[in-house]
């Protein structure tokens, strides 16, 4: 979905880099990448390093980096050019399993603003540092994700969990994933990655205390992404 924007803005000096936050690695990400047929770098972050280094807590999230390697926008929700969610999830076939219908019904209510996000990217590409969307270094740091001690511990627990999962110590991994979820309950990346191993639809299992549908209903789908602070 990002390729169209890349085609438009690459001649004007922008490169798009996608990063798959996937403990499943290339195997998990490849089918999606091949379907997208990108001309931009498509990277695999199997260890979720960028979550920690940049502050990603959900997907899609993005950062903007200027020509000198300086961040001008911290991690925040980022959407490619696409239809609003309400239109994307219309016309669900009648024979769709009820749980999936319920999930798509909630997904339909998730608030996103791809048009505004893409317009901001275009403005930055055009105006550079003069764009009102390009933030000062101090503001980038100020707006980055808070990281209280419990969130730092959650990051360590998640890293341990996903490493143990990949090494085949899955029982131990679940314990560390659960700790990460408890310490940083707003981090959808930690939750969804772990849930996805137990159930591809991220539904209720004995391994975890919650699931995607329950959690999104608890907070309200409209709060799934925080509003972008333009």
């Amino acid at each position: 979905m990002w390729q169209a924007l890349r085609t438009e803005l690459h001649p004007k000096g922008l490169e798009i880099v996608t990063v798959a936050l996937d403990t499943g690695g290339v195997e998990a990400a490849r089918p999606w990448i091949e379907a997208a047929r990108p001309e931009h770098p498509s990277l695999i972050d199997q260890a979720h390093i960028t979550d920690e280094l940049l502050g990603f807590v959900n997907v899609p999230n993005g950062v903007w980096i200027n020509e000198d390697g300086v961040l001008v926008r911290p991690a925040e929700p980022a959407w490619p050019p696409r239809e609003p969610n309400a239109a994307r999830y219309d016309n669900i076939p009648e024979d769709t399993p009820q749980r999936l219908k319920d999930m798509l019904g909630e997904a339909r209510k998730i608030t996103s603003d791809p048009a505004r996000y893409v317009a901001a990217v275009r403005d930055w590409v055009e105006r550079g540092a003069e764009s009102r969307y390009a933030l000062s270094p101090d503001e980038v740091v100020r707006r980055s994700q808070p990281r209280p001690p419990e969130h730092a511990r959650a990051a360590a627990a998640f890293e341990l969990g996903q490493h143990l999962w990949r090494e085949g110590h899955q029982d131990a991994a679940v314990g560390w994933f659960r700790q990460a979820h408890r310490l940083h309950p707003d981090n959808w990346t930690y939750k969804r990655q772990a849930w996805s191993f137990a159930d591809p639809l991220q539904g209720p299992t004995e391994l975890y205390d919650s699931d995607w549908l329950s959690d999104i209903r608890a907070i309200g789908a409209e709060n799934y992404y925080p509003p972008v602070e333009w």
């Binding site: 990063v19 498509s42 993005g62 980096i65 209280p148």
Partner: protein
Amino acid sequence: MLVDALTVDPAEFEARTGWQAKPEGLCKGDVCVSMPGGTAGPLDISVLSERLGMPLLHDEATDCWVLGPEGGGRALTTAVAPDLELPTVDGNPFRLSALHGRKVLLVAWASW
């Protein structure tokens, strides 16, 4: 950061966390933290944990250690982008600094 010993190489530590070993201590952005014993040799992970506020976790069953990011502030302590190196889908290493001179929109996504 996974650690397989009770010390870590300063260069490896910098590559993974952005904390750079200098004569005055470990530095990141405008912050420098002095380290007992200096920074020229291997860094003790328990000292790193204490001095930088990084949680140190240990899985007893597998004897696996992880040093987490520093806590008590924000995810970013500097706006200088980390010089990430990650593999492409084809398995080739890609370093973010290769794109200096271009604006970069870096987007995280997932199959889940």
